[in-house]
Structure formats: structure tokens, C-alpha cells
Symmetry: C2
Subunit: 131 residues, 2 copies
């Protein structure tokens, strides 16, 4: 999924419709809850992708300018809510002590972006009259 900004957690809208002549537009956001608790959001899924890319939670947190403890809190929360954990620790190898996405993690990321893409498509069709 393309990143629209360097710091996606500061994005104020996940999707925005076309602006009319009066500069009015529909904006919106979507997220996924499990049992009424936030499970996957734009920022959380970006974090998952960065963990996969960087190979560690600390590097992922750094590149999002998020504190390590906050990032770990989010990962633990997602792992707790998921039927199968999304992020697992890796041991050994160069540097050791990293983390990576599980297969379930990759599936969750893909499903989230699928929902977001559908939502962006819906929003892009919303044209305001502008009164």
C-alpha cells in the first residue's frame, strides 16, 4: 500500500473525496475493531509493515518517530486481540533479537488495506453539492 505521508499516524483522514468548486469535500477514516477494541488502524498497520521491513520493533518505531514503548504496546495489543499473533520475535542471526510478521500478520495487513482501498474508492465517488 502506498504511504501518503512520512508520518502516517498524523494523517487526519484515511480518504478524501473530490473537492467541489466551493472547496468542500467528504473525508473519512476506517479502522477495525475486535470486540469493540481497536485492533487495526492506519498507524498500527504501518507499524506492522515497518516491522516486516526493518526486522525489529525498535527500528520500526524509530522510523515512525514513535517511542519504543508505545510501539511495543501496540504490538502486544494487536497480538492479544488477533486469533493468531501477528508479530513474533526472532532470535539469533546478525544482531539477534529482532521481530517479524507471522503469516497471520501478513494476511491481516493485506485485509486492512483491502478495506481501506474499498473505502477510498467509495469516498472518491462522493461529490458535495456544497450548500
Amino acid at each position: 500500500m502506498p504511504r501518503t505521508k512520512k508520518h502516517p499516524q498524523r494523517v487526519s483522514a484515511l480518504a478524501e473525496g473530490p473537492a467541489n468548486k466551493k472547496k468542500m469535500q467528504v473525508k473519512g477514516r476506517v479502522w477495525i475493531e475486535k470486540d469493540n477494541q481497536t485492533y487495526l488502524s492506519w498507524a498500527r498497520v504501518e507499524l506492522l509493515e515497518l516491522i516486516d521491513q526493518e526486522g525489529s520493533v525498535s527500528a520500526a518505531a524509530r522510523s515512525m518517530e514513535m517511542s519504543y514503548s508505545h510501539a511495543w504496546g501496540l504490538v502486544k495489543e494487536m497480538n492479544r486481540l488477533a486469533p493468531d499473533i501477528l508479530v513474533e520475535k526472532t532470535t539469533g542471526g546478525k544482531g539477534g533479537g529482532g521481530a517479524r510478521l507471522t503469516k497471520a500478520g501478513k494476511v491481516a495487513v493485506a485485509e486492512f488495506w483491502k478495506v481501506v482501498k474499498g473505502f477510498q474508492s467509495w469516498v472518491s465517488r462522493q461529490k458535495m453539492q456544497g450548500s
Copy 2:
């Protein structure tokens, strides 16, 4: 538009999809911006409807448990952003000094709920696999 709760400004989601067996569901919200400033949101439109119903900003604010100054701030902001003002003061008559929606205000309220209904319809079709 039906109110889902007594205090709509505390609603955490404007729309939610069906929960799957794992209690996962898509949730989301939409709002309307003018020139990248919030113009109409669920709470703002509820306020407009209550002004129309109660005949004054103060009564509308009270019934939303919102401070008068906050409600007036929102009304002034919406009037400033709208091509034609949404709320006008009324004078004379019993009690005097009330407020009511203009025709543009009624049109804006209707357009907002139309967008929300479309969004709710879209969300209701989002079924999570739940990984």
C-alpha cells in the same frame, strides 16, 4: 435521521459493519471539510437539528449537554464556512432572541445525512475474514 444515542457527540463510530465470528468488524466515520477545515460532522449536524427543533442555540446546547459557548462557537464556524449561513437569529415573538435554520441550513443537514447513509450502507457490506 435517526439518532442512535442521546449524546451523539460521544459516538465513537458513525458506522459499523457486521461482526464476524471472531467479533471483528469494520468501523468508520465521515465528515465534511471546507478548504481543509471541519465544516459538518455528526455532532455539528445534530446541533443544527436541535437548534431547528428547540428554536434556540442555548436550548439545543443544553439538550446535548454542551456548553453554550462551545455550541455558539460551532455555529459561528459553520456559518463562516458555509456559502450561505446555516443558522440565523430570530427576534420578537414569545421569548424572543431565538435561532433557526435557514433554507441553506436544512439543505446542508440533508446532504450530510445522505453522505452518512451511503457510508453506513458501504460499511454494512464490509465483512472481515478476521485474521
